[in-house]
Subunit: 432 residues, 2 copies
């Protein structure tokens, strides 16, 4: 089959056959299709879209471009959790040990961050010695040892996705529903847990700004999961402001430790509990009993203990004192009194990138000590001069005054009280 | 400016600014924009289109990617002629010496063929020793010496077009009106004649199958030309069957020599005269007097003499006996009696490619001796067994029976007489 003709069919808005889609994906992973041809096809998909049948074939072809771990065979109860990416989304670091402490194994493929959101893989790198699993045998050992496996995408898992993502990042073809679904689900299906919890963000700090758009993504992800035999539930959750009160790698590990110890940021705690209840429900637990057990694990040290076991099993040092520390801090205060009516989560994410806590481009080095600590939330009533946030500076030289100005501009302060968006916009896939 | 953001704007159907378009074109010629990014932008333009303002900037940026010959400064009467490409379109080889013999200089950038149409550059290569101009000084010398300059696209002329065309060919982004207009007009404007005659083909053997589509292309080309200060006329002409009765390099040179000597194929002669009348009209001649002069040059040896002078000035041997000859010939006959009601011009073009007279891919070698001679036209009444065409075979090994079957299948023979399309579908840009 001539690949130019396949591109031309998608260019003209026609449906691609399974064989045509497989030619594309195999060509991406074995190098038989040139980068310029992959880019043209990705742009054609980005503009023309792909239907359910095409998306399913695309996902499965990308899954099959590497090896399949089939974790659900040895660990039928194991659950995978995926977030579509948000600012201050520290959930995974709490969720994994918390759910494992209730006897449900958790396996997650952690990704590196790009742009205004940091990745779990980067946050884990702040824990000295922590090594995510790269091979199937390591993943199996980790689940058997501590009930949690954090894995990193290696050449084993969906190499076609890795190749295509690099090109998408360069060619303006990231924002495509079928390509996003294929990228997420190919890795989930390659890891192969039988159960999946999705946290689909919506709002100014998320990729999808409105609840309907986020819900469309959630439903597309769930449909692919179901057709592949995976039990799935999804929450559509608020990203109109950062989820937790911390941004940055070491800073978010500290935020997780606080929640695991029974305290911490209330929104981070609440969303993690909601997602964990869904995970336990998939494992057959009654929701109320599940919530009670989860809350108990947070208060009785069970969750913290599971965190320590998890970090040690991954080769890391669980001591909070071992985390990188900021070199200096800069406080940013409210320029006037009033209600916090909006927070530019994406803008704060880019400030974190600017001080070194994130990546502008693939391959950029991250400053693990750099971060942001928020002191206010939408709806808070401020006095003039009250602290809005603290910039935790690492080794990168930054223009402090510019950062201060950008940070202050990320908060809208008004005379009237706003109505904050609910933390959970929709629950999908539960028992009806 | 971040190139990914520029791609994203076109992906979303927004109008690009002149600066954004120039960033794209300069990035193509200086290598600062990667091939995968060029491919994504080309696909976005292919699907989303480009408006008149964007197209004008694109053309002029591509023109300015190399040097400008400004041939109209030293030769204000010089005319350029361009055909959008057809099967058996031998016009340039007749037009150039014929118009020059009437005192109007002709400058043309000849292209290499790809796919089912052969390029004038390939046909000229059949003339032993013929060297098209690659540099400005050569072009000027040729026009001064013989009144004709055939040039070949070198690194001097519109290098961005060369780069972008290579990628378009690989990525299914050839069929885009603004990209076609930009590719054609950037080279015309770089050569810089003040006058331009366009021959826009329509029909089964052309890129644009219908007169309205071809007319849209003609008008887009003319608009760009006028805005760049070029006087322009266009004919939309029939390509529902091959134009002349010969396909292939040496074979078409012979066809041109026949017309130049006052005989030859009537359709090739008629269209060349019509285009030549437009060229002389642009130079200020009255159409009737121009036609009479042109016909006289064909009958009194003036045109043949101009051909000899043109070939010698380009370093070539004008003797017809010096042209490569076919090694063998295969006759294909009518399987039954009836009227020729349709001829698959594109199919015949691909048969010519199969026997070596054209290129399947960029860089393929052409067999200059290989060709096809047609014996019938749409509307002819045939007896069973009457010759349809002769395959002139060169050095390439071909499956003669397969070629015979494909050639016979290119002719529809019916009991009722068809109504052939007129040779000229529209005349654009003349005095109203």
């Amino acid at each position: 089959m001539n690949f130019v003709e396949i591109i031309a069919r998608k260019r003209d808005g026609l449906e691609l056959s399974p064989a045509e889609i497989r030619t594309f994906v195999q060509g991406a992973s074995n190098g038989h299709v040139g980068d310029e041809q992959l880019a043209a096809m990705l742009m054609a998909i980005c503009i023309r879209g792909a239907n359910q049948a095409e998306t399913q074939v695309l996902v499965e072809a990308m899954r099959d471009s590497g090896s399949r771990w089939r974790m659900g065979e040895a660990f039928p109860d194991a659950v995978d959790k995926h977030s579509t990416g948000g600012v201050g989304d520290t959930v995974s670091l709490v969720f994994a040990p918390l759910v494992a402490s209730c006897g449900v194994p958790v396996v997650m493929m952690a990704g590196a961050g790009l742009g205004h959101t940091q990745g779990t893989l980067d946050k884990l790198a702040a824990i000295p010695g922590f090594r995510p699993a790269a091979r199937h045998a390591q993943a199996t050992d980790l689940l058997a040892t501590c009930g949690v496996c954090f894995a990193a995408q290696s050449d084993e898992i969906a190499p076609a996705d890795k190749k295509l993502y690099l090109i998408r990042d360069l060619t303006g073809t990231v924002p495509s529903l079928p390509l996003i679904v294929a990228s997420i689900m190919s890795k989930k299906l390659a890891v192969g847990a039988n159960r999946l919890i999705l946290d689909v963000k919506c709002g100014s700090g998320a990729f999808f700004k409105t609840p309907p758009a986020a819900r469309e993504l959630a439903e597309a992800l769930m449909e692919v999961a179901r057709r592949a035999g995976v039990e799935v539930r999804a929450l559509v959750t608020d990203m109109s402001q950062p989820l937790g009160d911390r941004l940055g790698c070491a800073s978010e590990v500290r935020a997780a430790l606080e929640v695991l110890a029974g305290g911490g940021d209330s929104r981070l705690r609440e969303l993690t509990l909601d997602l964990a209840v869904e995970a336990l429900a998939l494992a057959g637990r009654a929701p109320e009993a599940a919530r009670a057990e989860l809350e108990r694990k947070l208060s009785d040290g069970g969750a913290s203990g599971a965190y320590e076991a998890m970090v040690r099993a991954h080769g890391g040092d669980p001591d909070v004192e071992a985390l990188p520390r900021p070199r200096a801090s800069v406080s940013v205060t409210a320029p006037r009194a009033g209600f916090v009516s909006a927070v530019d989560a994406e803008g704060l994410g880019w400030i974190a990138v600017a001080i070194g806590a994130g990546r502008r481009r693939q391959g950029d080095e991250i400053d693990l000590a750099a971060g942001v600590k928020l002191h206010v939330r939408i709806g808070d009533l401020l006095a003039e001069g009250q602290p809005l946030l603290t910039l935790e500076l690492g080794d990168r030289e930054v223009d402090v005054e510019e950062m201060r100005a950008r940070a202050a501009a990320a908060f809208a302060i008004t005379e009237r009280a706003p109505s904050p968006a609910p933390l959970i916009a929709a629950r999908l896939g539960g028992p009806s």
